[in-house]
Symmetry: C2
Subunit: 585 residues, 2 copies
């Protein structure tokens, strides 16, 4: 037996016990006559002591020989420490070692195995197995483990059935790019890896499995941004015989359960906001509602005063930052620079200070009288001491820019407390969005999303105005999940494919099986999918999903640890009946 | 709201309640003045009644219009039935319908949605979403769901951490054929889908995650046999600081938990048998120990009596079937035909009846005296009334054939009770097996399996005799899982690669990351993987894993429901920088 206890559990109560521990050398202090070794495993650190006079000379000598990250097995007696360490759970005791076995040596690790490491991201990714020994990464994996178990326990308890859907499926050109898998047994043909189990979960509904869930790997061959991974995990769910409210209730329940179990936080209410309101009031379909600072449109009070910038703008809209009138010139310049950054793209920023003593100071004083500014302030419900910030221009771009500014002000003013969690439903998304490049409408969510009945008539006349029975869950400004009530009859589905520019033949080739399934008694159904990596990061208080994935890939889609992807043998290509294309091809 | 109750829960206690149900039409009985509809959902069947005089004429007419598998929503009152059906949980009540909405129509399904269906396997696979409505398939999925939850609950409770390992990994020529995925971002390079997360779980051990598990999809591009799937699910586990006994204890615990929770069966003990004993006593490395009928070798009593077949055979071995001396000539001929089938391959069968009254009758009476037969019978511990069956020939083939005969006799004599479960560990597998085709040794388990220390010296002189620290779990003659204590030091791993015919360069190219990881303090570790599909089938009492997979593929690796694999667009190939090979290439 390699160990009787782990390195995190021994206490004063164990004093006098003979124990065996195994673990890694975190630290060695050699004071000549005394050697202390901190032995580490997943559960904690326990101090070992070897002492001249008490330990045989050979044992003391052996202890001095071990290096960082050596794997040791020791047997000894639990004794009380002279100098206790109240910061360590095992800090009251140490092990007086009687036997020492080096189970494995270690080369000097390429970076410090410590909470604050000297290893850069690239190095840590190459040696991810060493990175995982560090508490921050280990704890992220432990959090993920608990999230996995609690998610399943809750959904199972609610009568959801976990069904594993296939990974080798069929390529569909709609949506993001598929990863494909050549079939050796069917030369010239390919499987695709699922971007989501969407069609399968709908088929399960047709099959009468009225509550389905799965924690499932999904795949998208996209050009990777910093926080995207080619493979990612979804909490994928679907229900039959439900309306939007049933779905919302079910998955508010899930999120509340997770917050309670994982973080001890009670989420009381989950407000519902329309997409239109979210854009109008926050300039974003995923507003952070931990703070107010809602958008105020100023057309009636800011136009017609000779300020051409506002007069000619499609939209004049601002926010009011409470108590920020004291912002210095330098701070205001920095805000202007912020909104003018190319990725935000505003032309400029108008500020109006409502000073504490009641006067106004603005960057547009020459166009606006005190009364004009008073009227604007009234529009904002501003009070003395507040700072109003106004952007103008093309409506969508201006809202988007003001959203960024609002979030920045929220950060600056400490309104985005990472320990506060506000959960929100955003609903009534548009069904379709216009794509300039292809000059046609795309499904905003996916082609199986049902339009609102009352908007169906608009499909022919104003497709962009048709609202969908679609909803997103947003937490602290992060979209953590989304879904919709699906189309469940063949006619509506055909109509949708038509509006998405599918020919009948294309629709049949790609989704014929689903269309056919709908002819055999498909129930009304809907569902949702949560980005599980993102949810873990949110619960862990991190911005990076990569910390919550055991073996992530880099932005080029490479696993630098195993050096993948990689060339394969010519014999493999031959068996698959494919050839690599040369530059000349 | 689509329903207040499901179709399986209403009882006499609900009498008088107004309820809303949704579901599918299982059956309609139209007696003119009265119409009964059996409404079905995942939870059961509830009878609806429409009656002339009590129901409005339009409602009665509408009820008569519905067809099989229509999706209905009904509101009505729970009433006591005149003619109760004690076989149905809801058989005491029916719903007197007041409102009827057809939520969706259905074409006539291509086969009966019933426990015993008229649909052949091909048809049921094409319309798998309809097949899933049938109780046997639905119940198989429900069983699988429970197995999933119980497995995770147990392992979680034991301190195992669920870690998701990547699906897009690296191709390794060792072992079975990989499915590969061309990388668009890295032209000419490929990911591979994992045959198992083997190397990743070992890296997790190096990373200090000392108890890992995952229920994980694995992939093998093999020529499919009836009961193989290109993608399958494993319970994949690994532990650090463990010896074989620790692993056995941990996973006996899992299996006992599953039997207790899922089937209410207590498994008391799990015996351990060596591979050598399993082959010698049962002719199989996965013996069914629900019954004895162990092999008895007869060299000392059956040779030298002038029967050339036995005298010249490498092995003479038999079984004793208790109480089967009454087998008729015809039955014995059938057994002879059985062992002579090409897939079994014996040349013939010798029988010796120990008749109830004490006489012997055998197929070799002219070579053996009564005393000779008595000696043979003594060897078998045979009693009057028993039937001895003896095969001879080349040792391995003869054992394999006798294994088949033993299993058949077990079936014939009712010794393989499907409701009895016997769990067994088979241990001490050979490390290597000789491959005639490539004229070299292959790893019997995989190249990371550790040899037994005491056998290491044989690696150079008699590699085939080296035993591995490997173990299989066998239940009722089915191998449900297997694993090993791994190599955890670089030298032994290098030695192993050498013996498997890897050059240093090959070993480095394929497993360099693992070899490197071993230099940074790899702990002693080992693990196991269970074939989850197989385990579900075993628990469900079925021979076919396909019943326990929601959307299985056929023997050509095709999903006939979605018609996959399929050709992909030329633009996709172009983006991936690959070409299909023509026959001319």
């Amino acid at each position: 037996m390699y160990r009787t206890h782990n390195c995190g559990e021994l206490r004063l109560a164990n004093q006098g016990q003979k124990v065996t521990l195994s673990g890694w050398v975190q630290r060695l202090r050699n004071k000549g006559g005394v050697v202390w070794i901190d032995l580490r495993d997943r559960y904690g650190i326990t101090q070992l002591v070897f002492e001249e006079g008490r330990s045989p000379a050979a044992l003391l000598a052996a202890a001095k020989e071990v290096g960082r990250e050596y794997v040791l097995q020791v047997t000894g007696t639990v004794v009380e420490r002279y100098a206790k360490n109240p910061k360590m759970p095992t800090g009251d005791i140490e092990i007086r070692v009687e036997e020492l076995t080096v189970l494995n040596k270690s080369a000097v690790p390429p970076f410090m195995i410590a909470d604050e490491t000297d290893g850069g991201e690239d190095l840590r990714m190459k040696y991810r197995y060493l990175d995982i020994r560090r508490n921050p990464v280990k704890n992220a994996l432990l959090l993920r483990h608990r999230m996995l178990q609690e998610t399943r326990a809750y959904l199972s308890g609610q009568g959801f059935i976990e069904v594993e859907t296939p990974v080798l499926i069929k390529s569909t050109p709609e949506g993001a790019r598929d990863f494909v898998v050549p079939s050796r047994m069917n030369p010239g043909e390919f499987y695709a890896l699922p971007q989501s189990p969407q069609t399968f979960k709908q088929l399960l509904m047709v099959g009468g499995i009225d509550k389905y869930f799965q924690l499932v790997k999904c795949f998208r061959d996209e050009d990777l941004r910093a926080d995207r991974q080619p493979e990612f995990t979804q909490i994928d769910c679907e229900m039959s015989f439900v309306e939007i409210e049933d779905i919302q209730q079910a998955f508010e329940g899930l999120i509340k359960h997770l917050f309670k179990q994982i973080k001890g936080i009670t989420i009381d209410e989950v407000p519902v906001m329309t997409y239109a309101d979210a854009l109008a009031q926050y300039g974003s379909d995923k507003p952070d509602i931990r703070f107010g600072m809602k958008f105020v449109e100023l057309h009636d009070v800011a136009r017609g005063k000779g300020f051409k910038v506002f007069d000619s703008a499609e939209l004049v809209v601002g926010i009011c930052a409470r108590g920020a009138a004291g912002y210095s010139r330098k701070q205001l310049d920095a805000l202007t620079d912020f909104v003018k950054k190319p990725q935000i793209g505003a032309k400029g920023l108008v500020y109006i200070k409502y000073n504490a003593e009641g006067s106004f100071k603005s960057s547009v004083d020459k166009f606006y009288t005190r009364e004009d500014l008073q009227a604007i302030a009234a529009k904002f419900n501003a009070r003395p001491g507040d700072l109003m910030l106004v952007l103008s221009g093309e409506a969508a771009a201006t809202r988007a820019a003001l959203n960024e500014l609002r979030l920045k002000m929220g950060d600056d003013l400490g309104l985005r407390d990472p320990n506060t969690y506000k959960v929100l439903w955003v609903v009534d998304f548009p069904l379709l969005e216009w794509d300039e490049e292809t000059q046609r409408y795309h499904a905003m969510h996916h082609p199986f999303t049902s339009p609102k009945k009352e908007d169906m008539a608009l499909l022919d006349t104003a497709p962009g105005k048709v609202r969908a029975n679609a909803y997103d869950m947003v937490i602290n400004g992060v979209e953590v999940g989304g879904g919709s009530i699906r189309i469940h009859d063949q006619e509506t589905q055909s109509l949708m494919f038509k509006h998405l520019g599918f020919s009948e033949a294309e629709a049949k080739a790609q989704f014929g099986f689903l269309m056919q399934a709908f002819t055999y008694g498909a129930p009304p159904h809907g569902g949702i999918a949560f980005g599980f990596d993102r949810l873990c990061a949110l619960f862990g208080g991190s911005d990076s999903i990569r910390d919550y994935i055991a073996f992530p890939k880099n932005n080029a889609g490479r696993d630098v640890m195993i050096d993948s992807p990689s060339p394969i043998a010519p014999a493999q290509l031959e068996e698959l009946r494919i050839r690599l294309k040369n530059d000349n091809d």
